[in-house]
């Protein structure tokens, strides 16, 4: 009897193993900590929603999905290494970035041919039409040749600026302050807050915050340099139109230099912001606390993802609003030339959402059809709507204004900065600025801000580092300088 029971158990085990083995498995490299998404307690609503949608697809399809957590710190290095070594899972879920793709596009599945075919989960004639946005927008703005699609994903359909300044509306109201419209207003606001013993604005010089401040200042002030570069190269003005190669040309031909008045003025302007607005410990703040959330500062720069985090945080005990980094006008510098703010964001969605790519190895492993099926499921218009509904930002179609959809004044204040000024191809950033990967400009700005070097010395040192960068970039990238445009007449 015992033998019989044992044999039955054994057979059941063998059969169940056989069934399990017969089930197709798709492995997915997934952005962040999958455990948190599974437990439903992550801070990231966007990826948690994607995780749930993938599981939904797996259940409907009868497919086993194995998620592989990709810690966000250093994710692009790891994925690039895995891409080159051919060890990536079947699908990679991540925010697109061009840095690791340079020269490696042939290692990805080009999704362009699939775009003209119907999406079996969709309701349009082609997969392409399922997207709220131009499906190539996510990487149109980076290094991918126009029209080629290597990433698809979920996205809010609207035109949204991703980076905004969050401000404590209660502190502003008590101090009798309004949301600043210009950079000069912002500095005055900071002075008023300082006068009341309130630290105006948070920056962390050791993290991404620093770059988020530098970006709108540099993109605003370097406009004449950008124009000069684009005109020399005969390139149409567009988001990220200035490539690394153009920057190397600009450095070697003196168009972008440490002695350029716009470069020096951007450092001077940033120094005003640092001195009058930032927390005094900005060069090495205590990173274990959120200065804004804990009322240490009245403002901070951050991204759309914080909207949900701040909104849902139990520690949040004040109302907050947002505004875009304000326009630098002639009131602040005679070199201000742009009539609008250039900002990082998604034009008609695209960049703001989660994306997926398929490594070429998936085809060799016989999983391409399954991987494509998953991507089609995730990006069908109805699925995107379901994804959108879970996001902290409302899902506003591009032809509607935020105020038409959001009528609650508190929410309007919170969303203001993401939609004003509206993102468009004209206001999106061009990719101009410090080309060095280690952020030489920001590093040297720290020394300048602490009074160790003068503005002119900053310029000289920046120039040396940029020249070194250009020299190496030409060799590393194999750029043919003989095909470069002639140096502009001085």
């Amino acid at each position: 009897m015992r033998k019989l029971a044992f044999l039955t158990c054994l057979m059941l085990l063998v059969v169940s193993f056989g069934v399990a083995s017969a089930q197709e498995t798709l492995t997915i490299s997934f952005w962040g900590n999958v455990q948190e998404y599974a437990e439903g307690n992550s801070d990231n609503a966007a990826w948690e929603a994607s995780y749930n949608l993938i599981n939904q697809w797996a259940e409907e399809k009868g497919v086993a999905v194995e998620f592989i957590s990709q810690p966000i710190d250093g994710i692009y290095d790891r994925i690039r290494t895995q891409l080159i070594s051919g060890t990536l899972p079947d699908v990679v879920a991540m925010y697109p970035s061009n840095s690791f793709l340079t020269g490696n596009l042939d290692l990805l599945v080009n999704l362009t041919p699939y775009m003209s075919q119907p999406n079996p989960y969709g309701s349009f004639d082609t997969w392409s039409e399922e997207f709220w946005y131009d499906q190539s927008v996510g990487l149109r703005d980076t290094a991918i040749p126009a029209g080629e699609v290597y990433f698809v994903g979920n996205s809010l359909p609207s035109n949204i600026g991703q980076l905004v300044i969050f401000y404590n509306t209660e502190v502003f109201a008590e101090a009798g302050l309004e949301r600043p419209d210009t950079f000069a207003d912002l500095l005055t606001t900071c002075d008023a807050l300082n006068a009341q013993g309130i630290t105006p604005m948070f920056n962390d010089g050791t993290g991404p915050f620093f770059g988020w401040y530098t970006l709108p200042i540099v993109e605003g002030l370097y406009a004449p340099i950008t124009t000069q570069i684009l005109s020399a190269w005969g390139v149409e003005d567009a988001p990220f139109a200035v490539t690394g190669e153009m920057l190397a040309w600009a450095v070697q031909n003196g168009v972008l230099s440490g002695s350029n008045e716009y470069v020096l003025e951007s450092a001077r302007i940033m120094n005003e912001l640092a001195t009058r607005c930032w927390n005094t410990d900005w060069q090495a703040p205590d990173t274990s606390v959120d200065y804004f959330l804990t009322n240490r500062t009245a403002m901070t720069i951050n991204g759309f993802w914080m909207l949900g985090l701040y909104g849902n945080s139990e520690d949040m005990n004040f109302d907050f609003g947002t505004f875009a980094f304000p326009l630098i006008t002639e009131e602040s510098t005679p070199l201000a030339t742009l009539p609008f703010v250039r900002r990082w964001g998604g034009v008609e969605g695209g960049e703001i959402g989660n994306s997926y790519m398929i490594p070429a190895t998936t085809e060799a492993n016989g999983k391409l059809d399954l991987a494509i099926d998953l991507l089609q499921y995730l990006t069908a218009r109805t699925t995107n709507d379901a994804w959108c509904a879970t996001q902290p930002m409302p899902c506003i179609p591009k032809d509607q204004s935020v105020d038409e959809v959001v009528t609650d004044p508190v929410q309007q204040t919170q969303l203001f900065g993401f939609y004003n000024p509206t993102m468009s191809n004209d206001t999106a950033i061009r990719g101009i600025g410090d080309p060095t990967p280690d952020g030489v400009f920001n590093r040297l700005f720290m020394t300048y801000n602490s009074g160790t070097i003068t503005l002119e010395e900053l310029g000289e040192q920046v120039q040396t580092e940029w020249e070194r960068w250009a020299e190496r970039a030409i060799i590393d990238n194999g750029w043919d300088t003989s095909t470069w445009p002639a140096a502009p007449a001085s």
């Binding site: 290494t81 060069q283 090495a284 703040p285 205590d286 274990s288 602490s450 190496r472 194999g478």
Partner: protein, 314 residues
């Protein structure tokens, strides 16, 4: 016999029988101890694959513009580029200062090991040893978080200073004048458990007869320490000095996690330049060149160090 005639002799086969005999005896010895060689071989193969091969690859890579996938020979360009780095001097000065400090701070574990060794009660000796070793189990991340907080504007060090009546508003890691010193201060009181244990093992191994003889001869406590006990742990000290040399030149973890080499370039070290080249620039060739230069520096320093120690002994 000139080199030519040795070669000629080989060709003529005159020396072949002797060499052949020695080779067969070597083979016999290997066969006799084949189990030992067999047991060693997985480790050696592992070392070749995971240690020697990457090191040789780095050497090869240092002469190439290499992004991990494509490589193009560029000769000495990567070396020249590194040596012409305007920040090079500062990063080596930083390493030098860290090295001096780390060598000097070996005195602390030496002192603690000696004090534990001199405790008369065996149970006390045991518990003090446990106390010294216990922090090893704390994850390194906790150590970093703690020290970052201690050095922050409203962190532990400023709290203590303010309690003592000093209105300290120093952002220790955010000030170019204090950042490197703060990194050195990390780990106060610099009692590294393994270092203490190595010294302690050395002290315990001192023959008691030697100490008894010194006592009979009327040696004082200082004489006993400097003339008998310290020379007896010289072997341990030599190993630790060499390890400190190697560890300091290679280390960039503290600079990376505490300051990212900043503010500006105040705490930049060559190892961090190598790490940044590898992770931020995908410049594997350049990172390899820095790695090779660090290897040469460590090798030279270690040889000089050994020579100095040997001459001191003589």
């Amino acid at each position: 016999m000139s080199n030519f005639s040795v070669a000629q002799a080989d060709l003529d086969g005159k020396d072949v029988p002797a060499r052949s005999a020695s080779r067969s005896s070597l083979l016999r010895a290997i066969w006799k101890n084949r189990i030992l060689y067999l047991l060693l071989s997985p480790t050696i193969i592992g070392m070749i694959v995971f240690q020697y091969y990457p090191a040789l690859t780095a050497f090869w890579g240092s002469f190439h513009s290499w992004d991990g996938r494509r490589a193009r020979f560029v000769g000495l360009f990567n070396y020249e580029f590194f040596l012409e780095d305007p920040r090079l001097l500062q990063s080596w000065v930083n390493i030098f200062l860290l090295l001096i400090f780390n060598l000097a701070s070996l005195a602390m574990p030496l002192l603690i090991a000696y004090l534990i060794y001199r405790l008369p009660n065996a149970a006390h000796r045991y518990w003090y040893r446990v106390l010294v070793v216990l922090p090893i189990i704390a994850p390194g991340f906790v150590f970093i978080v703690l020290w970052r907080w201690l050095f922050s504007l409203d962190g532990g060090i400023n709290i203590i200073l303010r309690a003592l009546g000093v209105d300290s508003q120093v952002v220790w890691l955010g000030n170019a004048d204090t950042a490197l010193g703060s990194i050195m201060f990390m780990g106060f009181p610099w009692i590294e458990a393994f270092t203490v244990l190595i010294f302690l093992a050395g002290f315990i191994a001192i023959p008691s007869e030697m100490l008894d003889a010194a006592a009979v001869d009327g040696a004082t406590g200082w004489q006993r320490f400097f003339r008998i006990e310290l020379p007896q742990v010289q072997g341990q000290l030599k190993v630790l000095v060499i390890l400190t040399f190697i560890g300091t030149v290679q280390d960039f973890g503290r600079a990376l996690f505490m300051t990212r080499g900043g503010p500006g370039y105040a705490t930049m070290v060559p190892g961090l330049r190598m790490y940044n080249a590898f992770t931020q620039e995908n410049a594997y060739g350049y990172a390899s060149a820095i790695g090779v230069i660090l290897f040469i520096v460590i090798l030279v320093l270690t040889l000089i160090n050994q020579r100095l120690i040997r001459s001191t002994e003589q």
